[in-house]
């Protein structure tokens, strides 16, 4: 998708507007995702990288439509696979700022495995989940964070299954930065995003983002969110204990770790003919490298 970017003179002077695209969101008016979009645009302006050096990657869902609404490069992939796309991109292009966004269905249900492994791998990515505790795009089915008794056609009377805590999972899997924000608190959210992006390794932001259409009661979150109740720690067990004991309504940074990020790619000579030489046999000019001559050089053969 082409985004019509405003020309800008110098990265330091970036404003929210530089990240606002001309594409009109398909979101219902009042959707919490508007707040997240705004906070992200603000954060990107503050981070000061020009839009063409930023890529916003997502899966499928209402929330996953976000990339088109910024002026950055974007990748709107298939459902649940945003993190692997972001991983491949960041590894191939460490020079870019890669932000991954999506919903609770996309990230915790179908994408749960990639969430685990991205946290473990600790590539320098930021992952923003707009958690509305529902599949919005498919019109209101329960997700892994939906309350056990939330009634819907798909699960009449509720699933009966206790939601899990994405923060606890992220901590267990090895995420290096773990926080919870609220979509409608745009300014603090923007600040949190800035901090997450700046923190090395895999930074995870769970954003409570109300779905006005299928979960109108979530607009009450405005009242029940506990702001600033959390102090960051670098002790994973302590952060986990805090997560497990809180009301799931506290916002703030729970954990900032210092795990090493995923290693750099080897830089090599890039000459395939040097590599091909190992296959030579029977001539006089080249020595056959030991071992590879007969069994392919691999211990796995």
């Amino acid at each position: 998708m082409t985004i019509h970017e405003q020309p800008h003179a110098c990265p330091q002077q970036l404003t929210l507007k530089d990240f606002k695209s001309s594409v009109e969101p398909i979101w219902c008016s009042g959707c919490g995702d508007f707040g997240v979009l705004q906070a992200l645009q603000r954060a990107l302006a503050e981070l000061g990288r020009p839009p063409h050096e930023v890529v916003v990657v997502s899966g499928i869902g209402c929330s996953s439509r976000l990339p088109a609404y910024t002026t950055a490069y974007g990748f709107h992939g298939v459902h649940g696979r945003a993190l692997p796309v972001a991983t491949g991109l960041k590894l191939a292009r460490p020079d870019l700022e890669v932000i991954t966004v999506g919903g609770d269905g996309d990230g915790y249900s179908i994408g749960g495995n990639h969430f685990l492994h991205a946290a473990r791998r600790n590539v320098d990515l930021t992952y923003i989940v707009m958690d509305n505790r529902v599949y919005g795009m498919t019109k209101g089915q329960p997700s892994p964070t939906t309350e056990a008794d939330w009634d819907s056609d798909a699960a009449p009377g509720g699933t009966g299954v206790k939601p899990f805590s994405p923060l606890a999972i992220a901590l267990a899997a090895g995420a290096n930065f773990v926080a919870r924000g609220f979509a409608l608190d745009v300014k603090p959210l923007a600040a949190m995003i800035v901090e997450a992006v700046r923190h090395p390794g895999f930074s995870f932001l769970e954003i409570l983002s109300p779905c006005i259409t299928f979960r109108p009661e979530e607009m009450e979150w405005k009242k029940s969110v506990e702001r600033g109740a959390i102090q960051p720690t670098s002790d994973r067990a302590q952060a986990t204990a805090t997560v497990l004991s809180d009301t799931e309504m506290a916002t703030g940074i729970f954990f900032k770790g210092d795990r090493g990020t995923y290693r750099e790619a080897p830089r090599g000579h890039g000459d395939p003919e040097k590599i091909a030489a190992q296959f030579r046999v029977g001539g006089t000019a080249h020595m056959v490298p030991e071992d590879s001559a007969c069994c392919g050089g691999g211990r796995a053969l």
């Binding site: 082409t2 991109l89 990639h114 090599g268 030991e290």
Partner: protein
């Protein structure tokens, strides 16, 4: 085999730990040094490790591209469980069995072949040399049988064992010499004519694909292990330490192919590597890459399916899913190397095609190509490079990622390029890339993606014709079926039925004109393939690319496809 011996086919077998495979590798290495060609297939039992094993070899004066119909000699290091291989080691009355009487009688399943038995005290010979091992005695026996030059034999040992120190080399040289001497004493020989000495390559199809990937410019690989494809991933991971580039072990195949989407979007020529069950997991994302026009090469080393099937055996049953395994209409490029020797160039070409056409390219190898070790002439040519079009026609508000062009290819600037921001999307989209439900946009883009494949000049990529070009009988084959088809055609031609082989490398889009030209004048066309339902035949018929009356000869794995059965099928059908 025939009167003027051109090759000799030998099996070395033994139970876990006897080193039959190492001995087989040594024979191949020695033959190469003696100016010969050769081909080696490995067999192992059901055990994960440590069970019975056998090296199936043919060495000879011409390039060898398929398993022999029968073996001239079985050298048994012992008999424990070796009988389990009997169906895979065809012997007959003119074959030899070399074995150690201490290991007991030749098992019934093997003896019933009527092969002549030569008893040699293999274990005793080995223990007569300090540090001598029975597999090196077996190696010596084989080398003597084939009449390989002593210098080449010793050089092969030095090359293989050198790293283990001089004592090990001495022991191996000694054991091999003792084996040679003992066998020479039997007075039996299947000596090959002298080889034409030259520098050649010895490698497997999996390694050859790896090399093609590096030559093509692949710098990013994401994969999940699966037999028989893992060796490509591992080979690349090792080589890239030196060459540069990165192999990521993904958590699963879906992650792997999505990582490839990301890396390719970032501008890197990209590859993922798998086999059937893993390919099945990738098809959703392949559809995305087709729709969003993201280049990548997807290697599928086919094994016997369906489902887990027989992971260590060959079959060509993934053609259907490679061509059609995506929801919606998603035209794609599918290529298949027609031999091990063809793997480097076809893989390199696959990378070029992916980049130039901005689309996933499926490379269909198979277990038989991938895990067979062979000696080939060093390929003379490399395909001319093709690259990704990245320069926008216009920037800023006028940049359109999916602008409609005659070629169907549009510029694809990578992130980091100013004033060209676009969003890759699997939703139907307008030229701009913006999601669109409009029928006009959808149809324009679906046509564009078809057009870029159909109007592209694939040149030589399409395939090859072997044998008399005006032969009335044409065998049409792909992948590892080409080798046996070529041998069958030679025999048929020699026996008075001139036969050509049309080896199809480009399976999609179907090169109809080239195929028609290649088949011109043929009275009878038989599509030869190693699967159950005749997938290539159905595909070509569905595309109206086969002459009326074309026939199908399809036979599934796990048994290797042999020239003799193709000849038999053709002759039988002719007779009927």
């Amino acid at each position: 085999m025939s009167e003027a011996r051109k090759s000799v086919a030998i099996v070395i077998a033994g139970s876990g730990g006897t080193g039959a495979i190492t001995a087989g590798s040594a024979i191949l290495a020695a033959a190469a040094r003696d100016g010969h060609y050769g081909l080696m297939t490995k067999l192992s039992g059901a055990q994960v490790r440590g069970g019975e094993a056998a090296a199936l070899l043919e060495v000879g004066v011409d390039p060898i591209e398929s398993q022999p119909d029968r073996f001239d000699c079985l050298i048994a290091l012992d008999w424990q469980d070796v009988h389990r291989f009997a169906p895979e080691i065809p012997l007959d009355a003119s074959s030899l069995i070399v074995c150690d009487p201490k290991n007991g009688a030749v098992p019934e399943a093997i003896a019933r072949s009527g092969a002549r038995i030569i008893e040699l005290p293999i274990a005793e010979i080995a223990s007569s040399v300090e540090g001598g091992r029975i597999n090196m005695v077996g190696f010596g026996i084989a080398a003597e049988l084939a009449g390989l030059e002593a210098g080449a034999v010793d050089e092969a040992i030095r090359a293989m064992i050198g790293g283990k120190g001089e004592r090990a080399v001495t022991a191996s040289l000694g054991a091999s010499a003792a084996g040679r001497a003992a066998f020479a004493a039997t007075g039996t020989s299947m000596k090959l004519p002298a080889g034409r000495k030259a520098e050649r390559w010895m490698l497997s199809g999996n390694e050859a694909v790896g090399l093609g990937a590096l030559r093509g410019g692949i710098t990013f690989v994401a994969a999940y292990p699966i037999t028989p494809a893992t060796e490509i991933t591992e080979w690349l991971a090792v080589q890239m330490q030196e060459f540069g580039g990165r192999v990521v072990l993904a958590e699963d195949e879906i992650a792997a192919v999505n990582m490839c989407c990301g890396s390719s979007f970032g501008g890197a020529p990209t590859m993922t590597i798998t086999s059937g069950p893993g390919l099945a997991l990738k098809v959703e994302t392949i559809g995305l890459a087709i729709a969003a026009e993201i280049p990548m090469v997807i290697v599928d080393v086919m094994r016997v399916g369906p489902s887990t099937g027989i992971p260590t055996k060959s079959d060509q049953g993934d053609l259907d899913i490679a061509l059609h395994g995506t929801p919606g209409d998603a035209p794609r490029v599918v290529v298949a190397p027609i031999s091990i020797a063809d793997c480097p160039a076809t893989t390199e070409r696959a990378v070029h095609l992916a980049e130039a056409l901005q689309t996933p390219v499926m490379l269909l190898s198979d277990q038989s190509i991938g895990q067979t070790q062979t000696i080939i002439d060093i390929p003379a040519d490399r395909p001319a490079p093709l690259t990704r079009s990245t320069v926008p026609f216009a920037t800023g508000p006028d940049f359109r990622r999916y602008v409609l062009t005659d070629s169907g290819v549009s510029p694809m600037p990578a992130p980091g390029t100013p004033d060209c921001q676009w969003v890759a999307d699997g939703l139907s989209h307008a030229e701009s890339g913006h999601p669109s439900n409009s029928a006009a946009n959808h149809v324009a883009q679906i046509e564009k993606r078809k057009r870029k494949l159909e109007t592209f000049d694939f040149g030589d990529t399409w395939g090859e014709v072997h044998g008399p070009a005006d032969a009335p009988l044409a065998l049409l084959a792909f992948g590892s079926s080409v080798g046996p088809a070529k041998v069958a055609a030679e025999r048929l031609t020699a026996a008075g039925t001139p036969t050509r082989v049309v080896a199809l490398r480009l399976l999609s889009p179907v090169p109809k004109a080239k195929l028609a030209a290649a088949l011109a004048g043929a009275k009878r066309t038989v599509v030869v393939e190693q699967n159950h339902s005749g997938q290539l035949y159905r595909h070509l018929r569905g595309e109206r690319a086969l002459p009326h009356g074309a026939e199908s000869f399809a036979r599934p794995g796990p048994a290797p496809f042999r020239a003799a059965e193709i000849v038999a099928h053709i002759s039988q059908e002719v007779a009927a």
